[in-house]
């Protein structure tokens, strides 16, 4: 781009093109983060399910902490790798929502050390995270994420109707519904936008 004066038509064309370049697409680049959390969540919860079924040893529940222990370093790595160069208002709001959800999830998990019967942890976690997914979807106005979030909120209540190992199995299913499927759809949408 050179430094020169413009005609009115050229001005309009530049404004339209530059705004179009940045519109929404930045927030829709987050598919890989959904996939990271989704697959870690799925594999850890399935591992706990099968280990509990085989051994019946409830110390296997410690493995839940593998989710944040793998997820957070992985997310930091991905964010550094996919450095975006620009932050939109919507992107910052979504980031802040997930920071709050992360803090609340950590506090809820830690409270389990004090009283593990205080509240149904799997239901609470599923409801909390699905709420975050629904809010993120509404902010970026992306239907698959909105549907996944609200479907997840509704299905969270199914956990309350189940007992024991079945709860864990349903909990692992959430990873597919609210993170893995939307993550793949987001990536596909992002690739389509970049090609256009």
């Amino acid at each position: 781009m050179e430094e020169r004066n413009l005609t009115q038509n050229e001005s309009l064309e530049i404004i339209t093109r530059m705004i179009k370049e940045t519109r929404n697409n930045l927030e829709k680049d987050g598919g890989s983060i959904y996939l990271l959390w989704g697959y870690v969540w799925l594999f850890v919860s399935l591992a706990i399910y099968f280990l509990l079924m085989k051994t019946g040893d409830y110390r296997m529940q410690w493995l839940w902490f593998a989710i944040p222990l793998i997820g957070y370093p992985g997310m930091i790595y991905l964010l550094k790798k996919e450095k975006r160069g620009a932050i939109t208002f919507a992107g910052r709001v979504i980031g802040n929502i997930w920071i709050v959800i992360g803090v609340v999830a950590a506090l809820l998990s830690l409270y389990m050390f004090i009283d593990y019967k205080a509240f149904p942890i799997l239901f609470t976690m599923a409801l909390l995270i699905n709420t975050g997914v629904a809010m993120s979807g509404l902010i970026i106005k992306f239907k698959p994420i909105i549907i996944a979030g609200f479907l997840g909120i509704l299905l969270s209540f199914v956990i309350l109707m189940l007992n024991g190992l079945d709860q864990i199995l349903i909990f692992s299913l959430f990873a597919v519904i609210m993170l893995i499927i939307p993550g793949h759809i987001l990536n596909a949408a992002s690739r389509k936008v970049k090609k256009a």
Partner: protein, 96 residues
């Protein structure tokens, strides 16, 4: 009656930079260079002009060990852009 077009914005690269910055909260130098397709040297000069006019603010820092220049539009810059668009509209109204 035509409104005057702000001469600071009525230039290809400066208008492109301001158009990007009204759409995002902040953008770094590399992002602006890629989106505008400009050279680093030219972009630096034009960013400095916008900064001197108070249209944008520039923050120089580091991302890890690499230097990083972040740019944000100011209220003055946002108003100037809105007025520029209004002036542009008046030209098109007059010609249609």
């Amino acid at each position: 009656m035509f409104k005057d077009l702000d001469p600071l914005l009525h230039s290809q690269l400066r208008l492109a930079v301001i158009s990007i910055l009204v759409s995002v909260e902040e953008a770094d130098f590399v992002y602006l260079r890629e989106k505008t397709g400009s050279t680093g040297g030219n972009l630096s000069v034009q960013l400095e002009k916008l900064n001197e006019a108070g249209y944008i603010e520039i923050e120089k820092g580091y991302s890890g060990k690499r230097p990083r220049t972040l740019c944000r539009i100011t209220e003055i810059g946002r108003n100037a852009f809105e007025q520029y668009v209004e002036a542009l509209k008046s030209y098109f109204k007059a010609t249609t």
